[in-house]
Symmetry: C2
DNA sequence: TTACTTGCAAATCGTTTGCGATATA
DNA sequence: TATATCGCAAACGATTTGCAAGTAA
């Protein structure tokens, strides 16, 4: 565990905004100005393989990362891309439900809500005043 | 509606494999050898804004497209990226469930199962013989 | 005829990788 | 000391875009 990997993990754990690699790079750079973006990508990959963090392959082009490795769902703002945890319990049973219905061997599932975050909703509402 | 847009839509409607833009480009090229990849991308974008097709922003790097514009869920092979429709009914109620629990205004949700397709499962099983 | 769309090629964006130098265990 | 990791910069793959020419309504 290098100094770089430590800082990346710590900062991601603190950050509740599910940052992209680039956003996390900007944060980490404040502590280690010479760190490279490649190092951030490499360590995020390694940390997610170790199960310390999660890679979120969610709508949109760029990947986002979650310092919380436990299974949970997300809400995504369709306007600004902000991501929050979804306040809804895990539905483990739906994997059993589908199991006999398909030839796939199921290993997991992903649920994502799409909507407008409070900020973007307010801005949209203003336009109708 | 240009000839290009017509062919792209027709071919996507016929294709049950949820192809990527590039895969669809190869198919369409058989009918229109001079069509460009840019045209395919542009039309897929337009058709999905019109609600004629769906853009699937699902795990993995590249986007895939679905000629069926109705809401439904998908299963993705974690090994080869193949995507099939998930044989499970829509759960509209979960949007109500989350509605009071968050400051977001919810507009939809997306559910994706992750597993091994029959082919990849067989190959993986062979390795243990 | 006029706005929209095309084919082409270059640009862009996020991400990955090869390298020689450096740090960790 | 041996191996893993680093910073840097160049490469990569998917997607987008500017432009002049062509096409649909």
């Amino acid at each position: 565990m290098t100094r770089q990997r430590r800082v990346i993990l710590d900062e991601l754990r603190k950050d509740k905004s599910h940052p992209s690699a680039d956003e996390l790079y900007e944060t980490v750079r404040k502590y280690m100005p010479r760190i490279s973006l490649g190092t951030v990508y490499r360590n995020l990959e390694i940390l997610s393989e170790l199960g310390e963090i999660q890679k979120l392959e969610i709508g949109g082009t760029l990947k986002r990362f979650d310092g919380n490795p436990k299974k949970h769902y997300h809400i995504r703002c369709m306007n600004c891309g902000r991501i929050d945890d979804a306040p809804i319990a895990l539905m483990e049973h739906i994997e059993n439900e589908i199991d006999g219905m398909t030839d796939y061997k199921i290993f997991g599932h992903r649920l994502e809500f799409i909507g407008l975050c409070p900020d973007c909703f307010d801005k949209a509402a203003d336009r109708w005043q």
